[in-house]
């Protein structure tokens, strides 16, 4: 039993990462009932931007670049965690401005629109950065490894899992414990009344969407040192995100978090026995759960199912 411990820990850290990846996606699905298929591409874009910002050639004018490079890596990394998502948020604004036209209609329009946007972003990434792999530098403090129970553990994995947990907690607080969250939820529940109360729903939806895209970028930056940065990483992220949401049930916050942990455990444990097939396990898990429970674990009735 004890030899399983590393795999379980590994699975749990992975699970928190999956939950983080799904977080922005869930926000948009849960509060706007729109499926943002560009989530993965925005995730990748965040990672690429962070790589460029922390790398030797930051995208700034010469003067600022010099001052920027003089900063220690830790500071640059911390600043990147804010700058890169903000830049991705601008792309999010652009997508939301297009998506706005589809709100009165069917969610499928939004899904297709964001599929097109995903294609465009992915191709733009290929144009700018090429198809090679990159590595995102992380500060000394969180890189490297440590010894525990005669095993070497990667410090970064635990840092990433910890920060994922913190971000998940913050988002939960924002939705459940602030007036902003209450208004947003009310807007999703009954848009007419919210409008009648004089709340600018258009701006509210823009905010939610942008927050979702920024979370995608944050997830990209956190996950990049583990998965590596390559054009395909967007697809590698959007499928688990989608899967976690469906498994947890559309519209359920903790459902998604639990589903993320389950998927992580499943992938981690199956990786211990059949590493070749570990990715298959999450699909089998989904099929097993959704065959029995029609709306995932804790799904609510939503317009996304006819």
């Amino acid at each position: 039993m004890f030899d399983l411990l590393p795999h379980i820990l590994n699975g749990l850290t992975l699970g928190l990462l999956f939950a983080l990846i799904a977080l922005g996606f869930m926000l948009i699905v849960g509060l706007m009932e729109q499926i943002n298929l560009a989530h993965g591409s925005l995730f990748a874009l965040g990672a690429y931007l962070a790589m460029q910002l922390t790398g030797p050639r930051p995208p700034f004018p010469a003067e600022i670049a010099k001052a920027w490079l003089a900063l220690p890596l830790g500071w640059r990394y911390a600043a990147t965690l804010i700058i890169a998502p903000a830049a991705v948020g601008v792309v999010g604004i652009a997508i939301e401005f297009c998506m706005r036209r589809t709100y009165g209609k069917d969610p499928l329009y939004g899904l297709l629109l964001t599929f097109g946007a995903a294609m465009v972003i992915e191709e733009a990434i290929r144009l700018i950065w090429g198809t090679r792999d990159y590595v995102l530098q992380v500060p000394q403090a969180v890189s490297g490894g440590f010894l525990f129970q005669d095993l070497i553990w990667s410090t970064y994995r635990f840092y990433a899992a910890g920060i994922s947990a913190v971000i998940i907690g913050l988002v939960w607080l924002l939705i459940e414990k602030t007036p902003f969250g209450a208004t947003v939820k009310a807007g999703a529940h009954d848009s007419e009344i919210v409008r009648a109360l004089g709340i600018n729903l258009t701006r509210l939806r823009l905010l939610v969407f942008v927050l979702g895209t920024m979370l995608a970028a944050v997830a990209g930056i956190i996950v990049a040192p583990i998965w590596g940065i390559r054009p395909h990483m967007g697809v590698d992220a959007v499928i688990p995100a989608f899967l976690v949401i469906v498994l947890g049930g559309v519209g359920s916050f903790w459902g998604a978090v639990v589903a993320g942990l389950l998927v992580g455990l499943c992938v981690g444990l199956s990786g211990a026995y059949a590493s070749e097939w570990s990715l298959l396990s999450m699909y089998l898990l989904l099929v097993a759960v959704v065959s029995v429970r029609a709306r995932g674990l804790w799904g609510k009735k939503s317009v996304l199912e006819a």
């Binding site: 209609k105 946007a117 294609m119 191709e123 733009a124 007419e192 499928i239 899967l243 959704v290 006819a306």
Partner: protein
Amino acid sequence: MTASPSPSSDAARLVTPAMLVLWVVLATVPLWIARVGLYPYLGIEILIWSLYALAFNLVLGTAGLPSFGHGAYFGIGAYAFGLCQFNLAANLWACLAASLVIAALAGALVALFISHRRGIYYAFMTIAFGQIFWTVAIKSHSITGGEDGLLKIVRLPAGFGVISFDLTDNVALYYFVLIVFALALMGMWRLVHSPYGRVVAAIRQSETRASHLGYHVWLYKASIFTLSAAVSGLAGGLFAMAQLAAFPDVMSLHQSGYVVMMTLVGGGLVSFWGPVVGVFLFLIARDVIGALTNAWMLYFGLLFMAIVLFRPEGIAGAAAAAFQKKSLGSIRRQGSSAMRLLFGGERWR
């Protein structure tokens, strides 16, 4: 017209005037395709993908079921063609039959799990199964050749008892694929307009209503999915023959997305011919824009976004509006209501 409220007079026919015109035009393609700067192989590709998109539209357009992992059945057909050729019988008919049957079996297996699901859960179950098949295809090196693909598939001669036609030449293969396409087209046209097809279309409008009328909704949903998978597999088999190999990438989520894209750009939700229109546009755009710039997906992606935003009824929808002198608005409403039915009720009123 799958979504047309009043059945057109062509509905009962086996061969419609539109079909005849299309066949005649397609039959002349090898005569001029090289002169306009394209090549015969593109013609084969267009026919195969049209067949695939039409089969896909049985599920998306006719039944209103969002299947986003259809590439799996296309890919399974391609592998079945190759494996049958290597291990069972190097006979064209046997191999094509294998493509059809194996893909149908895979489709039936998946249908078993998903046919009682709706909307986003249906869509994601199809993606999950698509990914399962894709992963299996990539990881089973000994059977499928993994990521390198199943190579050295040959174009088998089409034997009819005494005579047999060599299909190694692209033009010969083009005509063979055209005949298969024509036959399948007739079959699907009849299927969509048969009593069975009507029930499937009724299920698209309202599952609840159809089941209250006494139809076994689950069975219809499962059978149309299986049929669609079978024809997709047949197209996959032809594709393996055209490519001389079977690769796992046609089973990936991206490629499954392309067929959705082609079908919707063409207007599959409002017209039987939509998928064919979409495939023509997609593949020709790929070659023409691709010749000018490497980043053709960038421009096609932008074009796709523009179509979703401004012409959501697709090209066939816009054309139908022009020909039938209907207002674009009514066609669009028809397309929109079809879309709404795919994913559910009205919101943000």
